[in-house]
Symmetry: D2
Subunit: 283 residues, 4 copies
């Protein structure tokens, strides 16, 4: 029976492209957070067979999600686009920022009381990834992207750390919580309430509105892309962001495609996002 499955696997390997990347599960003990953090890493076909250096992309999950969400969506798309040349071979890191039980386990990409995730990300995760894997190393070799809460995280990370990433692709991003779009009006002061408050406190929209001219200059060093469904409940935020960016003369791309806040939308977004990151890596 085991032999049978090997045979099936062999046949399927022959069916699909010879050039398939792989995803490895990795983790890191964070002193900042006082706990272990998991992350998945997509390594393109050929990684490790030479001393080639690769660009590095971070791909962030949404609220209710984990590092386990993206791999099954990412792998076939990255394999295909790298194989056809639409996307350069790159290392793609998918870290865990929370989990499904959002009321009882703190999640999110910002610093929150007792959980300075943003500090962890820039001081521990990013340097460690670049130490363990042959990738990144400078702005021109790094990109970030994500969905919903991860789209908002990507945007704010680029706003506050403009020297780190060359491009930002935000899918159906959660950029503010001024109208309690997520979580609703909360009486309980649980973990979800804290996450929602952190999105208010770190509003990506307000950041653009209030940016000094010097900050605006820095924002212009990043390539921006916002991609949201016409029936997404967060639709207004992507549009507002585009309007703010234009008012400050920061070039960005906006696309409104058919769809809602779901995986079908984010899966297809990868077909635009990966080539976007790819062509904006430094030369």
């Amino acid at each position: 029976m085991k032999r049978f499955f090997l045979a099936v696997a062999a046949i399927f390997a022959a069916f699909s492209s010879a050039n398939a990347g792989k995803v490895v599960l990795d983790s890191l003990y964070s002193r900042t957070l006082g706990s272990n953090v998991y992350f998945n890493v997509y390594l393109p076909s050929g990684y490790g067979k030479s001393d080639a250096h690769y660009p590095l992309t971070f791909l962030l999950h949404g609220l209710y999600g984990t590092h386990q969400d993206w791999p099954s969506h990412l792998t076939p798309v990255a394999d295909e686009l790298i194989n056809s040349g639409e996307c350069r071979p790159m290392v793609i890191v998918m870290p865990n920022a929370g989990g499904a039980d959002v009321k009882h386990v703190q999640n999110g990409y910002f610093n929150m009381p007792g959980r300075p995730y943003e500090d962890f990300f820039f001081r521990e995760l990013l340097p460690e990834v670049e130490k363990r894997y042959n990738c990144g190393g400078r702005k021109g070799q790094r990109a970030i992207m994500g969905l919903s809460m991860g789209g908002g995280g990507s945007t704010v990370y680029c706003q506050r750390h403009p020297e780190v990433f060359s491009s930002c692709y935000a899918m159906s991003p959660w950029l503010d919580n001024d109208g309690n779009q997520v979580g609703g009006r909360r009486s309980e002061k649980d973990c979800l309430a804290i996450t929602c408050q952190s999105v208010c406190d770190n509003s990506a929209l307000r950041f653009v509105q209030e940016a000094s001219d010097e900050t605006v200059s820095q924002l212009r060093t990043i390539k921006w892309f916002f991609d949201c469904g016409d029936d997404d409940f967060l639709f207004d935020q992507s549009v507002k962001m585009h309007q703010l960016m234009r008012s400050r003369k920061i070039k960005d791309e906006l696309r409104i495609r058919d769809g809602v806040h779901n995986w079908e939308y984010w899966h297809t977004a990868l077909r635009t996002a990966l080539p976007f990151a790819s062509r904006n890596f430094g030369r």
Copy 2:
């Protein structure tokens, strides 16, 4: 030499699909306007070879344009989509609503002092087209679409005559002129000023905002599609329309693609617009 060109033409005819529609120039004396009005008519391959009845689509040009703008863009796209079945064979009428000299020749789709074009359209043009050509005849067999001023015209025509068309596809539409987006602040009271004022007076945005519940019910009998470039100077209007439609629970589609206010955008829009009209014709 003449024979040579015939040979070339024959070769090209063989190259391209056998099923090519044709465009005929037609005209109508309008009592309402007191002048002759030209319109081009796309007749699909096979038209007139049987007594088959066809759906009817109106395709409206923009400010500075005429009935001569659309045919070269429409024909290859309509031929291809009809040939592959993505679009049903249909009669497509492209009427003249003005001309390039917008300051000295009155244009636009609304009734203006001395030029009641909307009256002409519904009382003379539409009935006459359906008399001369074997097409249309009822809401389920009629669609309307257009670019810029023609996108605004299509929208308002459907708002005010919800019993006439089954669908409306507005490309980069000019839906209001509240901020003097077109024409700028005008001191001269020329034809352009009158056109701009008419767009204010017939605001498609205000129409949705102020619609009674009964009117809203009627608007829901139409399929709506708004399609605008992310760098279009009229971008805000399409987005505002989508937000208003949602707030009144009138279902519509919105797409923001890459692009500006130009023919490249409108040409590619036809690939979405024609199938949209096609699938919304009654069965």
Copy 3:
């Protein structure tokens, strides 16, 4: 904890479109096969709330697959396309034709010694589906599509039963096994060998080559679509089919997109296949 998950589910339900179809698992005892056969059924949003009748599409899996393969890919795409109007609401049936253990369990869509699946399909499954669900009933209300072995099955079913389906969409289809493309040269006479032989015996390519003029007329009553990746190991077969169809003047569509023989290809194919079936249903 249970309450928590309900809350999460409620939030997600609010996030995504209100109009979501559902998949139900059904089964049928087949006298012809002497066993129970499972099939999944996609019911569009609103099904059962009125006495509305729906078109019926069969969606077939590939070798090594079962009725469980398609649902997770189909549901989000069908929901989106039905919601935006690109596809009419329809009932979609995904029957089981085999299983992963292809050497020891007979599978495939043709009649094989002791397993007349084609007879089962047309004499038992199809009539029973139309009895249990409010759908189909005539050629103009039925379509068929499938991947790989299911693409070949769809094609041959339409060739041999041209009065049953209005359209056929074959994804990366397995249309012949003349060159032992699948299974290789087999010494063992196991179930896989029998399946492979049945594909030789029921070659869709040879069928077109050898079709009488009368058969060709019947084939022209079906809308055909072949869709295969440029790096698919079965590439040559789709191309050959298109060439044969053209040589017999049977209109078909062919698309070669980027990709290989995998789920990424078939998932994206649904975005073309469902609207194709939809617009070819009778009016």
Copy 4:
């Protein structure tokens, strides 16, 4: 009146993207051909405002065509894709290789009796373009693409001069004339007959079939893309080329889209071709 048109022009300039390239008509006296040869040059926005060096793409017209064919199709697409970053700013040269009167004026990209165009292209045109414009200079900074006869020309130029271009994009290419696909069986020995014979003599298909292993290695240094309509009368040639390339293990891309041998196909092909050339320029 003049002022009016200036005003209109100003308004339209404001409408469309500020970053518009321009096309200049240039020419060169060819000693090889003993005549003047025209070529159009697309210069991207910003060209000449700094000493920036640009990649160089040649874009070839088809039989019956001239250097005047491509500019109106190229400009809006290049402007849009460069503006959105999907394509790097590049210089695009569209040379004349013939003219509409193909029986009486010799045309084509190969050396023909008394008209060694290929020699002219590589010995005179290419060096002169790189002298006059700040572009190209090495394989990694050069691409070539074209339609029909120009697609065949691009392919053969890369086959015979593999050290010159980094990529080749062939649209509906004419790669052989073995079956008299173009021109038919000709009794007259006119210019068209000579062109057709030259395509036989310089068959791109035979070149791959007969290539030595060393030549195959060189062909692998080029990125290849073939793009042809499913209803194109030259369809078989693109498919055959892909099959030959795979049999020699030379990686290429093939796409079969909906369409025939016409400008609608080639215009839309630019959206794939320009990014393809762009991402294959050396880094």
